[in-house]
């Protein structure tokens, strides 16, 4: 632009873009940071405080009188109130009403004449001149400054205990064949629609464009009935991987054909004509010339289809079972939202595992994705 770099308008542009970028990235950042935090800290403080030490109120119960030891004629019970090595005691107390009445290092005289001292590092001592009696240990209230702790524990837990690991495999099982199989089918059809003259071609293209926007909801019930019928007829379960692969292929074909046809129609006519003059058949032209040249469009579609099948919830819910070896990541996540609604350490870690593969695909292949988007939207005007 012609405007000088120092003009306030340019500064304004920088600032507003910065603001928008922050607004758009903060949700994901919050999820990632939270998923790496210690689950006790995650439950009581916002993720934006993750780098500062947090204050926690703990209640510990000292061991009962049976643990007392005699030392210099006095009876002593000792222990450590903190289980976190980096934490520091900022105050302590022995009454519920005054849980932070004393500074670390001070000595508090308990009701029965015993003396309680809690050091900054959490070690405590209860000292008594006479042998202590009773069955229960003394309650100690500790206010501790706990440094932030980052851990992969949440990930370990969801991968094993919550079945996210199994679902990860299931999602891959759904999306890999669903992405690859339609490509060849669509490519042949797209070539026919782009370069082979035959009656009805325009109508077929119009149908493909129309099918692009048919809502999935229209297909669900009839296909469910169809699958149930076929399953009963063949004596196999109605909900299988084969069923969902075919369903994803069917739903993905209009976009695949549309994208590839647009791309192929844009290839120079001369290439095909000179090949035809040399005696090549349509089949040869397609396999040897068009298919290699169409690689960018094939890649665009593959990325779309992969993201769509990986992120899909609806088709999987209807056409795939809910067993441990069939439930996909999105379905598992919805279940966790219901059953573990408040356990954010589980939800954030699970959610991050479900989005990590699409994000990797996105960042490494963004170029093709953008190209596909630009070709895929029906051009107007």
């Amino acid at each position: 632009m012609i405007a000088s770099k120092r003009s306030p308008l340019v500064l304004f542009v920088h600032l507003s873009v910065l603001l928008l970028v922050i607004l758009w990235t903060i949700p994901t950042a919050g999820l990632l940071i939270s998923s790496l935090r210690d689950k006790d800290q995650l439950a009581v403080s916002g993720w934006w405080t993750a780098l500062s030490t947090s204050s926690q109120n703990l209640t510990v119960r000292a061991p009962g009188p049976e643990a007392q030891q005699q030392r210099d004629g006095k009876f002593v019970i000792s222990g450590n109130a903190l289980d976190n090595p980096g934490a520091k005691v900022s105050a302590f107390g022995f009454r519920t009403q005054e849980p932070a009445a004393f500074e670390p290092g001070q000595t508090a005289t308990l009701n029965d004449g015993e003396r309680l001292t809690v050091q900054e590092d959490g070690t405590y001592e209860i000292v008594s001149d006479v042998a202590m009696e009773g069955s229960r240990g003394q309650r100690i209230f500790v206010q501790a400054a706990v440094p932030s702790r980052f851990t992969f524990d949440n990930y370990r837990e969801v991968l094993n205990a919550e079945g996210i690991g199994a679902s990860f495999i299931n999602s891959l099982t759904v999306s890999i064949p669903s992405t690859i199989i339609p490509i060849l089918v669509a490519a042949f059809a797209a070539y026919a629609l782009a370069w082979m003259p035959f009656p009805g071609r325009t109508v077929l293209i119009a149908i493909v464009v129309g099918l692009l926007v048919v809502p999935l909801q229209m297909s669900l019930i009839p296909l469910l009935k169809l699958y149930n019928g076929v399953g009963a007829f063949l004596g196999v379960p109605a909900k299988t991987y084969v069923g969902i692969w075919l369903a994803h292929m069917g739903f993905g074909l209009p976009l695949a054909i549309y994208l590839l046809r647009n791309y192929m129609a844009g290839l120079p006519r001369e290439i095909m004509e000179s090949a035809r003059v040399d005696g090549a058949s349509d089949f040869d032209i397609f396999v040897k010339i068009i298919l290699p040249l169409s690689f960018p469009a094939l890649a665009s579609f593959a990325i779309f289809q992969f993201l769509w099948t990986w992120n899909d919830l609806l088709v999987a819910m209807v056409f795939l079972g809910t067993g441990n070896n069939e439930l996909v990541l999105t379905g598992r996540l919805v279940n966790l939202l219901g059953s573990r609604g408040g356990n954010w350490e589980i939800l954030t870690a699970s959610a991050f595992i479900t989005i990590i593969i699409p994000l990797l695909v996105f960042f490494s292949l963004q170029r093709y994705l953008v190209r596909g988007l630009l070709a895929g939207s029906v051009k107007g005007g």
Binding site: V174, F188, L212, V213, Q217, I221, F283, W310, F362
Partner: protein, 336 residues
């Protein structure tokens, strides 16, 4: 692991089967109607016949799959919508009459129209603004990548992300949801955002806007770059300021693209399902058509008639855009 192996084997088998089909049918066609090494008249006749058949061989698998998975279901859904819950007995318009009198359906229609008004407008607006702004700064591409990123995230994943932002803790305790933390730090009471009727719809819409803005931005950014330099230069010479150039010179030239972005997001909005299911499952008056339809597919053992009727309503809402798309595509093909 075993099933992953099965998936890879299926994939290879599927691709090989497709390749074998195309190769095999092509070979057979050439055997039946050979054109090489025949005399002139016969060769040209065979060539004509095989050229008439070959496109259909190429098209057959795709047409077959699309017929089974898209065309047949559309017809069947319409048919089912006039039948009872098992799809056996004809009930006329009973499902549609039920629908009009059903409070939940009217709620869904109302919410869907709210979504239709808000989401495409906001996503397109933000997309346009960001596209225009990022074109002027050196780190524009980084900014675009970051704003585009939510596109890759599943609706369910996005719902978890935002549910965390909307998380609510009782007043007085420390808020771990970002929105309530901001609200309380400003001195207001924390709110359980997704349970406040009417407004909760907007909190759900924010998720879709967050996802779709990147899409609008990418398309509109390309359109803005496609604007001929001369038109902008002429305006600059005529003394137009930045805003005038943007609104009076650039926007009018990309109306077509804006319409495309708008309609594409509109169609997505009509089918919005995952977000509502994950966030509220239609509670607190957030029901939408797609979720209601899914509900009726399985509710009470599944009512296929009502489910199909709701699906038909969604389809009817899509039809105007479908026709517009087909017209545009036809116009474009004539241009070629």
């Amino acid at each position: 692991m075993q099933q992953l192996l099965m998936a890879v084997v299926t994939m290879v088998a599927g691709v090989l089967a497709c390749a074998a089909y195309f190769y095999g049918t092509n070979l057979i066609l050439d055997l039946i109607f050979p054109s090489k090494g025949r005399s002139g008249a016969k060769a040209s006749r065979n060539l004509r016949i095989s050229n008439a058949i070959r496109p259909w061989l190429f098209l057959f698998p795709a047409l077959f799959a699309m017929t089974i998975y898209l065309i047949y279901p559309v017809i069947s859904s319409v048919w089912l919508s006039f039948h009872d819950k098992a799809g056996q007995n004809f009930v006329g318009g009973a499902n549609y009459v039920w629908m009009i009198n059903d409070g939940e359906f009217r709620q869904s229609i109302f919410n869907n129209f709210l979504w239709l008004l808000v989401v495409p407008a906001l996503a397109t607006f933000f997309g346009l603004i960001i596209a225009a702004l990022t074109d002027r700064i050196w780190w524009g591409n980084i900014a675009k990548t970051l704003i585009f990123m939510p596109m890759a995230i599943s609706f369910v994943g996005a719902s978890v992300i935002w549910k965390f932002i909307y998380d609510y803790r009782a007043a007085g305790t420390e808020q771990i949801g970002l929105l309530n933390a901001i609200v309380t730090s400003l001195g207001f009471e924390p709110q359980a955002w997704v349970t406040i009727p009417l407004w909760n719809n907007f909190f759900l819409m924010a998720i879709l806007v967050w996802i779709q803005t990147g899409f609008a931005m990418v398309i509109l950014s390309a359109a803005l770059r496609g604007i001929p330099e001369e038109t902008v230069e002429a305006a600059v010479i005529d003394g137009a300021n930045g805003f005038q150039i943007f609104f009076k010179i650039m926007i009018p030239q990309i109306w077509g693209t804006i319409a495309v972005v708008w309609t594409t997001i509109t169609i997505l909005v009509l089918k919005v399902f995952d977000i509502v299911l994950a966030m509220t499952n239609g509670q607190w008056q957030t029901q939408v058509l797609a979720n209601l339809m899914f509900d009726w597919m399985f509710r009470g053992g599944g009512d296929f008639g009502r489910g199909a009727a709701i699906a038909v309503v969604i389809m009817l809402l899509v039809v105007p855009i479908m026709i517009w798309n087909i017209r545009n595509a036809a116009k474009e093909m004539k241009g070629h």
